[in-house]
Amino acid sequence: MLWKNTYNEFIKILAKPRSYIGLAALTLLIVIILFAMKADGKMYISFVTASFEQTLSFNGNVLNGNLIAFIILQMLIVHIPLLVALVTGDLLSGEAAMGTLRMLLTKPISRTQVVLSKLIAAAVYTLILVLWMGFLALLVGRWVFGTGDLIVLNSDGLVILNYTDVLWRYGLAFLVAYLALMTISTLSLAFSAFADNSIGPIVSTMAVIILFTIIGSLDVSVFDTIKPWLFTTHMASWRSFFNDPVPWSAIYKSIWILLAHIILFVSVAIFKFQRKDITS
């Protein structure tokens, strides 16, 4: 029954216009970034390397597909949660709003299975978004700008990674970015279990992200104890793969924290949804 309903969820997601908003927005954004970089990418780079460039010259194809992909990933990781929540925040509450939840929950399928099948559908949808972003950023970026060494600005300086040493980093970075986005998916799914309209969970999800991000970026010692436990702190963890050496233990920690959040959010969604009186 789980898979049958998962199949149904795919049909629904495929038929819903809003599912394509994310993909379309992503495509548009990336095309715009690619175009901007093609037109004025040197400016962007000199902003990063300005203080070095008086003394040093950076030779070779600095503005290459690998750097473009990195820039895109860095820019979009802030906005993709909205595109994800747009679909995943609607999964339960949207059916409540439409009234179809009544129909669905009088069928011989347990509520846990309903949540899980929606979770699977959300996971696949999020994966498609990430893969699509990866495809556009990395493949199209490389196609337009060529390949080359990747120059990355970290807080303790520049790291220049050999172009042969970049792909595996992207692979793992996309994986961790996917995990971060799954945290958003499950958070909005959990909110979705509480609400009877689809706007509420989407707005709530974004509100939580904004709130946590602000707490995370405030340099106030009061927050220092909670900062490491905010999932938003670990959403940028994909970036760590572009450090040299890669800070594995920090990444493992981020992965654990993100996984813990995912499990927590799914549990909350199931717990709430199982006990929910359907009065809509």
Partner: protein
């Protein structure tokens, strides 16, 4: 007909916060019944029905369907139930056929095109299978809703206010469909309504609930055609107390009540009304009015207004 209970509801209770939606609802639906679930708006019909379909968890009481406990054997039970709660809602962006496929798939029914088209034909929606449900009229959705209840060949069909919002033509169509379900497909049907006329036309048994409590349960024939009739008698003078004594002697067991010095009420079988009248006139009472309040309708209205 043998009496296999299909639905047994006992001592059902449900609170929403401080609000007591259902206090004590009890009824039994037998196999082959078209069972009317009657009550005014806000009586707790919808809450009871949602409890029966596990949409709402009751605070107390027992619900058994097909002899099984709903709490422990929910999925086994629901596999044998088709239902519409409130109004049928569908995925507007999908076609009628796709909608039915989706619901068939999780009802455990076969998703083959032929059975879906046959079901659409049964409810009079043949040829509309490719149309998006978003463009359907209320009546068409109602019929599609009924189609949806039938996909997995359920033994019990639960219909919550199936004619609400329909035009007279639509009401007749749905009524006709319900009778066909009973007669052609031999289903057990329970339908709720706040209109007695609605129930009277299709149901064989019924229960009336009010303010979250069962008021009366029985066959429609018994309840509607009860020979025991409530009589209201009004006199020209303040003689109701004396008249009550006379009536009690002549018709023992008629439960005479003095309502006011000039009026009284009593229970009486229909065929005795004429003789009661002449008896009172012969005894010298001047009767201004003699109203039989026979119909359950009156009882229902009276009950729901008090």
């Amino acid at each position: 007909m043998e009496h296999h209970p299909i639905i047994e509801v006992k001592g059902l209770q449900k609170y929403f916060g401080a609000f007591e939606a259902v206090k004590d609802v009890n009824f039994t639906v037998n196999k082959g019944d078209v069972f009317g679930f009657l009550g005014p708006n806000g009586a707790g019909k919808s809450t009871t029905m949602r409890c029966m379909l596990s949409l709402i968890k009751p605070n107390a009481g027992q619900i058994r369907l097909f002899g099984k406990d709903l709490q422990t054997e929910r999925n086994t039970i629901l596999a044998r139930v088709g239902s519409i709660v409130e109004k049928p809602d569908f995925y507007k962006y999908l076609s009628a056929q796709k909608n039915l496929e989706i619901f068939a798939r999780i009802s455990g029914a076969s998703v083959d095109k032929r059975s879906i088209l046959a079901t659409l034909d049964f409810v009079g929606l043949a040829g509309r299978e490719k149309d998006k449900v978003g463009g359907f009229s209320h009546g068409m959705r109602q019929r599609l809703g009924i189609a949806q209840t039938l996909l997995h060949q359920p033994d019990l069909i639960v219909l919550d206010e199936p004619t609400t919002g329909l035009d007279p033509q639509g009401i007749i169509e749905v009524r006709d469909l319900i009778l066909r379900l009973k007669n052609e497909q031999l289903k057990t049907v329970i339908l709720s309504s706040h209109q007695l006329a609605e129930i009277e036309l299709v149901a064989n048994r019924m229960v009336i609930i009010n303010r979250g409590q069962t008021v009366i349960e029985g066959t429609v024939a018994d309840l509607m055609n009860a020979q025991q009739t409530l009589l209201n008698i009004e006199f020209s003078q303040e003689s109701s107390a004396a008249a009550a004594q006379v009536i009690a002697q002549r018709f023992p067991g008629s439960e005479v009540q003095v309502v006011s010095p000039k009026t009284l009420q009593l229970q009486l079988e229909k065929q005795h009304i004429a003789s009661l009248n002449s008896h009172l006139v012969n005894a010298g009472f001047e009767i201004v009015a003699l109203e039989p309040k026979r119909k359950l309708e009156d009882f229902f209205i009276q009950m729901t207004q008090s």
